[in-house]
């Protein structure tokens, strides 16, 4: 099997670029046949064409189709009206998943942005800031699956008295005499928080990088002038840096909000939604593959989409303002 895969990979690496270049060559050949007046009208559409077709087939049409499928039954053969949504509003498992997603939606942006802001501001003030940032940023390259393994190991539990293998319980029992090891991923008081902390570990570096770039945009003269006037570092941060950084904070926080709403991998790997840790995306996966109910899975997807729409509109508005301001 391995040599076969290697051959397939070699073939794909040669053929894919060839196809990409040939497409453009064919487009140019076809356009040249047209009268020169029409060339300028047709060419852009042939260059954008593949992207438009792909985005239509894989995003726009499926999104509309999902809204329709959410009104049909489990195998999409009969119209059931709002039944799937009624199910969504009454099923305790799904309601608990929505509730958990709300907890994610509030705490992930709050924690990741706070951590990212602290990282950006603190590393900006030490000579080894660049090296420190590389370390803090590193988890962004790690998959949620690998991060799931890493953090399952962090939260690992052994009964009291046995040697702890999980880092957190090792610290807890080692530092505080008489402390009991905790079942972080099973106890419903801690497990959702434990999953969110793992995600903060993955995402804070992203927040830090974007916020650090925003920090660079704040004129030093401003801070210098305030220092001369006798403001201390905390006042500088609170009165000057933070207000000027607010637009960047908003961008980062909305990105985290979307990540919180879409969260799937880390929950799937670490708890698979057990012990009341299901979120919207894991619940949808279960409806799709365990229950094989296309209607309900689609309804859950529509609920998720509805939560994202406000962010999308806000995004579009700020994009248009940018465009208007730029010209």
């Amino acid at each position: 099997m391995l040599p076969e895969r290697a051959a397939q990979l070699a073939l794909a690496v040669l053929l894919v670029p060839a196809v990409l270049v040939l497409y453009l060559a064919a487009v140019e050949g076809a356009v040249r046949v047209l009268p020169s007046r029409r060339q300028g009208q047709v060419r852009p559409w042939l260059w954008i064409g593949p992207a438009i077709v792909l985005v239509a087939v894989f995003l726009v049409i499926p999104a509309i189709n999902t809204a329709y499928l959410s009104l049909l039954n489990s195998d999409s053969t009969a119209f059931v009206g709002a039944d799937n949504y009624r199910y969504a509003a009454s099923d305790p498992g799904l309601l608990s998943a929505i509730q958990n997603s709300l907890v994610w939606l509030i705490s992930l942006p709050l924690l990741a942005v706070t951590a990212g802001l602290a990282m950006a501001v603190l590393t900006d003030r030490v000579p080894y800031g660049r090296a420190a940032r590389s370390i803090l940023f590193l988890p962004i390259a790690i998959s949620a699956v690998a991060a799931g393994v890493i953090w399952r190991f962090m939260y690992d539990y052994r009964p009291p008295g046995a040697a702890q293998t999980g880092t957190l319980n090792g610290l807890l029992t080692g530092l505080i005499p008489g402390a009991e090891p905790q079942t972080w991923l099973i106890n419903s008081l801690t497990n959702n928080g434990a999953l969110i902390v793992a995600t903060v570990w993955m995402q804070a570096g992203f927040c830090m990088i974007v916020l650090a770039a925003g920090l660079k945009g704040i004129p030093d003269e401003l801070l210098e002038a305030a220092r001369v006037d006798g403001a201390n570092e905390w006042q500088l941060f609170r009165r000057i840096t933070l207000p000027l950084l607010m637009p960047t904070v908003t961008v980062v926080a909305t990105t985290m909000a979307i990540i919180a709403l879409k969260a799937f991998d880390i929950v799937y790997v670490m708890t698979n939604g057990n012990f009341d840790t299901d979120v919207i995306a894991t619940r949808m996966f279960k409806e799709l593959f365990s229950a094989r109910h296309y209607g309900r899975a689609s309804a859950i997807a529509v609920i998720l989409m509805a939560a994202v729409v406000p962010i999308m509109i806000w995004n579009l508005r700020s994009f248009r303002q940018q465009q208007a301001g730029g010209r």
Binding site: V13, I52, Y128, A141, V145, A146, T165, F264, V269, L304
Partner: protein, 303 residues
């Protein structure tokens, strides 16, 4: 210029002489909490990965009975047995190839198709151009979940479920809005004199694109390629759904999550498997961090 720019990256500006300057030692002492905070943050962020790495080279019976932190004091007993096991007997070698076979062509396709579209959107006049771009910006935040059921039904109908071509198309279709967004913003900033001069010299858009636009945009193309490579490599959800649970085509993310789910595996194997799955993104990250950061800053509308 400000004092900060002169003292180099990140150093705090010296206290202006107008204010009574505290002695050097006093300033140094006051900065101790700052250093402590930075070092603590770094330690907290490094420890989870360190625990994984150390456990992956410890013998299984030791991983099960003692904490990984006990392994860093002598007597040292490290082994590569866990890696040998996961790569050969657990078929992670095949999954590694599958991951490559999913990721590399999908990334090439995304960068290529996005580059055509971005160039046309930035430099070709057309009536509905702005509307097309606006639609793409709207698509930036659409969660992939909203497309799963219809695309899965389509794939089942045409026999693309469980094929590499199918998953390339999913990554391509879903990656395009961000890819076009990133590249268009970069292409639009190319100097118009350069492109107009080429057109006056009689260069076709085809020639301009390959001889001028692509070579001058290497940093942007590299940033995009690196981000797509890492995102596609790290994807779990699309692989779970569109590869239909087949072991022979499963990428590393699916294989590792199966190992986690099957419980019987010891930590020493899980940690080794997770580390194998992290190798490519880590190498890319460590060697090309600059492009990585540029890509994230250039497209920070999306994750």
């Amino acid at each position: 210029m400000t004092a900060r720019a002169e003292t180099g990256s990140g150093a705090v500006a010296p206290v202006p002489s107008a204010v009574a300057a505290p002695s050097r030692a006093a300033v140094g002492l006051r900065r101790i909490p700052l250093h402590l905070a930075v070092l603590l943050l770094c330690a907290a962020w490094l420890v989870p990965s360190l625990g994984l790495l150390i456990s992956s080279v410890r013998p299984g019976h030791e991983v099960a009975t003692t904490g990984w932190w006990t392994a860093i004091v002598p007597p040292l007993s490290f082994t590569i047995e866990n890696y040998v096991q996961v790569l050969t007997r657990r078929d992670l070698g095949l999954s590694f190839m599958n991951s490559l076979l999913i990721t590399v062509p999908a990334t090439m396709l995304t960068v290529g198709v996005a580059a055509y579209a971005a160039y046309a959107l930035a430099w070709m006049r057309s009536r509905y151009r702005d509307w097309v771009f606006l639609l793409l910006v709207a698509m930036l935040v659409v969660p992939i979940q909203i497309t799963l059921v219809p695309v899965l039904r389509l794939f089942n109908a045409v026999g693309l479920t469980g094929t590499f071509v199918g998953i390339w198309l999913v990554h391509l279709g879903f990656g395009l809005p961000f890819a076009i967004y990133l590249l268009r913003n970069f292409f639009a900033q190319l100097p118009s004199e350069m492109l107009e001069a080429a057109a006056i010299d009689g260069a076709s858009p085809f020639a301009t694109f390959f001889r001028i636009v692509l070579p001058t945009s290497v940093p942007a193309l590299a940033s995009l390629a690196i981000l797509e490579l890492v995102w596609n490599w790290n994807d779990l959800l699309a692989a779970l759904i569109f590869l239909g649970g087949r072991k022979d085509v499963a990428p590393l993310t699916v294989a590792v999550s199966n190992l986690v789910a099957s419980h019987g595996e010891g930590w020493q194997l899980l940690t080794a498997a997770a580390f194998v799955s992290m190798t490519l993104p880590l190498v890319v990250f460590l060697t090309m961090q600059r492009y990585f950061v540029q890509g994230i800053l250039g497209g920070s509308v999306k994750e």
